[in-house]
């Protein structure tokens, strides 16, 4: 595709220039996002009560598998979604950060429960991070203490909408 000089002068980006010529460059990305949004393989990190609800979400009554998100991976290399389900202690923070960095992009973070969202009751503690978003970018917050499995699903489905929009 040879771009006209007139196109390059007005300072628009390559994508915009291509769109001027009726070439849509986002289609493939849309397909990828379609598949990514339907296949979050979670990596779990938690302390005690939120993970119980998270485990319950895999059980028969709630069944996270309906959305195809049931593939809980133990290795960050194969996960797409870090579910932070518990407070991050200062001692644990570098570890969580490292685990997050070991995940292959595109990757997302879900803060489950109030401890992960903001530190919760421990927010003024000397050893707790006041919220997971002080450590890395959190894509969705699921408040609750602990949130119901359905609340987790709501968070996942909201995240699905976000990923489908390509807004990450």
């Amino acid at each position: 595709m040879v771009l006209n000089e007139a196109d390059t002068r007005d300072g628009s980006s390559d994508v915009e220039q291509l769109e001027k010529h009726n070439i849509i460059v986002t289609t493939l990305e849309k397909i990828w996002n379609w598949s990514r949004a339907r296949s979050f393989w979670p990596l779990s990190y938690g302390c005690n009560c939120c993970p119980i609800e998270m485990m319950a979400s895999g059980a028969a009554r709630f069944d996270i598998a309906r959305y195809g998100y049931e593939v809980f991976r133990a290795s960050p290399r194969q996960a797409d979604l870090l579910i932070v389900a518990g407070p991050i202690t200062l001692k644990m923070a570098p570890v969580v950060k490292r685990v997050y960095e070991q995940m292959p992009s595109p990757k997302w973070v879900l803060a489950m429960g109030n401890c992960a969202t903001s530190g919760g009751p421990f927010r003024d503690g000397y050893s707790i991070l006041p919220g997971a978003d002080t450590l890395f970018k959190v894509d969705i917050f699921v408040p609750g203490c602990p949130p119901r499995p359905e609340a987790l699903f709501h968070g996942l489905l909201e995240l699905k909408k976000k990923v489908e929009r390509g807004d990450y």
Partner: protein, 236 residues
């Protein structure tokens, strides 16, 4: 016998495999929630007496409010009330402490947000107005309590008009219809048509009440169609 336990296990999984799944499919089917389930903390400013018991009871500093003094009164009025749900641990202490049931839990658990600061909920009560409470005493009440419900009133008025128009049309109502068609003749045709067809009558009545312009167009279309069918009938 060796392996009996294994076979038994296989039998159990087979039995459960053919049973009906126990899943409640969440977004379509709502989960059954107990009455006392604490989903989300809500605040109703109408009952609030600004006593501050809730903030004293809260262990996590979830609740906070701003007040302003009322002139000529010892009381304070509420300027804003904040529930920062991201710190809440749903312990119910504030609800128990509240003397007027201003705070309460609702069953809404779908609280996920993309941004952390969106979790915080701020309630701002409407501005207050001074009214004469009788006996020379002034009282402050919220504005929307003073103002009658405009929307509801308008809706009631509209319904009344609609009913009147329907009865008028069912009895003929050539005069009304004459405004929407060009000639008296057309009005007569339309009136006959509408008397015969209840559906079209209702539609016409609603249009006359809500949107006069559209009513004119629809009326003319009705007439034209009626003329055409009449002409077709004569030819045959």
């Amino acid at each position: 016998m060796i392996g009996k336990g294994l076979l038994k296990g296989l039998g159990i999984t087979l039995k459960h495999g053919v049973e009906k799944p126990k899943t409640i499919q969440y977004p379509e089917q709502r989960p059954y929630l107990q009455e006392r389930f604490r989903g989300c903390l809500e605040f109703d400013y109408k009952n609030c007496i600004v006593c501050g018991m809730c903030t004293k009871a809260c262990p996590n500093n979830v609740l906070s409010f701003e007040t302003a003094p009322i002139e000529g009164s010892k009381k304070k009025r509420l300027v804003s009330y904040t529930i920062d749900l991201q710190y809440c641990m749903f312990c119910n202490l504030c609800v128990e402490a509240c003397p007027t049931n201003t705070l309460f839990f609702v069953h809404d658990f779908e609280l996920s947000t993309y941004r952390r600061d969106e979790i915080k909920k701020v309630y701002i009560p409407p501005a207050l107005t001074q009214v004469d409470a009788g006996g020379g005493q002034a009282e402050l009440i919220p504005q929307d309590a003073l103002e009658p419900d405009r929307e509801a009133e308008a809706e009631a008025k509209r319904l009344k008009q609609l009913q009147a128009m329907k009865t008028a049309l069912s009895k003929g109502g050539q005069k009304v219809l004459a405004k929407y068609v060009d000639t008296e003749e057309d009005a007569a045709v339309l009136a006959n048509l509408l008397q015969a067809d209840e559906k079209k009558r209702d539609k016409m009545a609603a249009l006359i009440v809500d949107d006069k312009e559209k009513a004119r167009k629809v009326a003319q279309a009705f007439v034209a169609k009626e003329r055409k069918t009449q002409a077709g009938g004569e030819e045959k």
